[in-house]
Amino acid sequence: MTDEPIVLGIETSCDETGVGIVRGTTLLANVVASSVDEHARFGGVVPEVASRAHLEAMVPTVERALRTAGLTLADIDAIAVTAGPGLAGTLLVGVAAAKAYALATGKPLYGVNHLAAHVAVDTLEHGPLPEPAVALLVSGGHSSLLRVDDLARGVQPLGATIDDAAGEAFDKVARLLGLPFPGGPPIDRAAQSGDGSAIAFPRGLTAPRDMREHRFDFSFSGLKTAVARWVEARQRAGEPVPVADVAASFQEAVCDVLTAKAIDACRSQGIETLLIGGGVAANSRLRAMATERAARYGIQVRVPRPGLCTDNGAMVAALGTHLVSSGVPPSGLDIPADSALPVEVVSLAEKVA
């Protein structure tokens, strides 16, 4: 027996129905049902298609997670769920399910922030997070730099994308190059045999003028357009498109900006721990470049394994056990699903104003 809390976490902020079970910082189950194949032909996630898939997958995914962990709901101490940010319609399915499980079993409910959960999941692999830490979260839905002073209560935004998420840029460039959706893994693969310095693509918000106002913000829209122009110019000229070089040069530009700003954030704040999460954290070049650059300044980089970087229920459960252990009060049954939940709100406490 152990007195570490056991939390079941539910994640439905985008197209993955994720249910995870965590005891303390030990992962017991992480089951994900994805509707990604249904979105591929649209080149992006269609909210209504994703919402329908969440409703179908919810109960079977909870049951699979419990079976994987060898537990029943009676063994669970609390239910945690992503309350936002994310797609409004998809979040609502998870939040309503979590409320029903909590009410039916008499367990406390924790409505939590998706971004804080991306940070918390690393504790499953690397143990408690040294605080303060800087977190770089990059995916198809978000690109944020955060300062984490207290994962249970205090997360501060340092910067975020002012247009597209980094993962979106991967999707769009993959489409330009005739690679499948989602674009991250195929671009990573294509880039292996390409030259990252072949084409000088722009680095958004790194000019001196931008650095004054947007030091820790990102912009990937200009990069995406530059890649499109370059590829289309080649096509118009009837020349072959060097897919590997374009992929590698694009990836180099994204990773260069992400790691430079993340390390600048650490150095300017005197912080020695950089955590990277979100689906783009699975990118091999991002991992390598961050580790190499951080080492120069004595900054320790923590990146969870790829299966924990993409959206999943274990990250929600991991934040849940941290909140329970930290004595944070649970949420009420009246909490909303908030598609624009501010990053500072780690969990929705008892009553929302």
Binding site: L55, L73, G89, L92, V93, A100, D334
Partner: protein, 223 residues
């Protein structure tokens, strides 16, 4: 047998506790909140309030009945996932009832009745009933099309869609029932509940394909 009833196919976020027996049904508690935008916030607290009011514990429940629509998708899913999760958590069966059927069964006028709920986008979800029994399949159409097709064969109409488009439908509209009643939802599942029929997967009646548009912010690369 004590049953939890939910329906979120209309702006009425509906929950009830009904005792279903061979000798008839008794409604123990009802909570209805009219709010088309708050299904997700209101339903669970309303169910909790019924438990508090009646002293019923979740473990006392023997089944869950859910209105499966048709209804606007986002709200409809709240009721269905709530019912499914309750059923799963408590290990009790879930049964689906067409939400229009509950209105049709509760309509008390004589002759054929048009049941219509608001489908938004200037359309209604509708079906025709005779003596409480549905004639044909539920559908979603513009009110004028419905009037042209069945206006002559129905004597009156019920439901919030009938109220909203009373002028176009040109059929006398009865005040009640306006939303799927708890008692009728329970009654339509009573037979299955009492003979302990196998649980049913709660499949929503969407009647519309999803809009295949990618969310804002995911624009084409150029222009």
């Amino acid at each position: 047998m004590l049953v939890l009833v939910v329906d979120t196919s209309t702006p009425a976020v509906t929950a009830g506790l009904v005792e279903v027996t061979d000798a008839g049904n008794q409604t123990r508690a009802v909570r209805v909140t009219i709010n088309a935008r708050a299904h997700g916030e209101v339903l669970a607290p309303n169910i909790a309030a019924m438990f508090d009011e009646t002293g019923v514990r979740p473990s006392d429940l023997a089944a869950v009945v859910a209105g499966v629509g048709p209804g606007p998708f986002t709200g409809l899913r709240v009721g269905l996932v709530t019912a499914a999760a309750f059923g799963d958590a408590l290990g009790i069966p879930t049964y689906g009832v067409c939400s229009l059927d509950a209105l049709g069964a509760a309509a008390s006028g004589s002759g054929r009745v048009l049941v219509a709920t608001d489908a938004r986008r200037r359309e209604i979800y509708w079906a025709v009933y005779e003596a409480g029994v549905r004639v044909g399949e539920p559908a979603v159409d513009r009110p004028a099309e419905v009037a042209a097709r069945v206006g002559a064969e129905v004597q009156y109409a019920v439901g919030d869609g009938a109220h909203k488009y009373a002028d176009v439908l040109a059929v006398p509209v009865q005040q009640e029932p306006r939303y799927p009643p708890v008692s009728a939802l329970a009654e339509l599942a009573a037979d299955r509940i009492l003979r302990r029929a196998p649980l049913e997967r709660l499949t929503p009646l969407y009647l519309r394909r999803p809009d295949a548009t990618v969310p804002a912010g995911r624009k084409p690369v150029l222009q």
